[in-house]
């Protein structure tokens, strides 16, 4: 059994259980917010998505460091998958945030809000990761350059987060802070369960994607072995590690 397939079933079940529990707590246990009313329920999905995606970018950078140290391709694949999944989660975070902003502020997007704009900058920075990979044909150079990018961009994420926090403390509603957050008990429980659920979803999908890529590679190798090189279509230029 592939090491990517290990624990995948357990992880999937845990993700489903936490998601169902999180949604139940969000809608049936946590009270409505005193200022925002029912619309605040968006926070229980929007904030975990944003947090997990930012952690995913940092994780991609950590995997990039390990790849640069060990030169093992598996770490490049992990770095690529973490950033890939983070981008998908970021799209969800941005769209759910825009919907919340429409309810709360009457606008889909507010350019003067530092947290929103800084998050968008991080997402746009990581959007260049795949074109960067695609622009380099040699797989060895591609993985090395991509790892360097992931490390630099990954280091930018906490820096960017800190700068915004230090400069504008009260513009964006703060769900978490260094004193333990502003959420009362019942809301905090629902929120943290949703954070765990989204983190588990991230881990499950990441494992799923790595397993799919590994299986695809094995099928190609098997085809080449059985039918010869001519039977396998050339891979062509790809952003994904092969």
């Amino acid at each position: 059994m592939s090491k990517h397939a290990r624990h995948l079933r357990g992880l999937t079940i845990a993700t489903l259980v936490f998601f169902l529990a999180g949604l139940a707590l969000t809608f049936f246990y946590a009270p409505d917010d005193v200022n925002q009313g029912f619309a605040q329920k968006i926070f229980y999905i929007h904030v975990p998505l944003a947090i997990v995606s930012l952690c995913g970018y940092v994780l991609g950078g950590v995997f990039g460091v390990i790849h640069l140290r060990t030169r093992e391709r598996i770490w490049d694949l992990r770095s690529y998958t973490a950033i890939h999944m983070s981008l998908i989660f970021s799209v969800g975070g941005l769209l759910s945030g825009a919907i919340w902003a429409k309810v709360a502020w009457g606008h889909w997007w507010v350019w003067s809000e530092p947290t929103l704009v800084s998050y968008l900058i991080v997402v746009l920075l990581f959007c260049t990761y795949q074109p960067l990979r695609f622009s380099i044909e040699d797989p060895e150079r591609q993985s090395m350059y991509a790892s360097v990018f992931s490390v630099v961009a990954g280091a930018f994420v906490p820096l960017n987060f800190l700068i915004v926090r230090l400069s504008e403390a009260f513009v964006h509603p703060r769900v978490l802070n260094l004193e333990g957050g502003t959420l009362p008990g019942s809301m905090a429980l629902a929120f943290y369960v949703m954070v765990i659920a989204v983190a588990l979803l991230f881990a499950t999908l990441m494992k799923f994607e790595m397993l799919a890529k590994e299986t695809r590679g094995q099928t190609r190798r098997l085809r080449r072995k059985l039918l010869g090189d001519d039977a396998v279509a050339p891979v062509g230029r790809s952003a994904a590690p092969l």
Binding site: D33, N35, I42
Partner: protein, 74 residues
Amino acid sequence: MPLIAAGQPTDFVSLHTAVKYVAGAYIVVFAIILIYLGIMAWRLANNQRELAELHKLVEERDAEVPEREQEPAL
């Protein structure tokens, strides 16, 4: 003063409007995840089809080998 606190709902936006936006946000997020899973499932189906093809080929080759072994040597 906490910016978010539990309490009685106010008329910040009407419940009817809020429900539409909350449903919209959750639907968008789950749609993104479902689209991703759909793409992955499509790739998986392609891979399974290719594997089945290779499996069939291996079986055909295995069946051919005993036939050749049975042929009398010239």
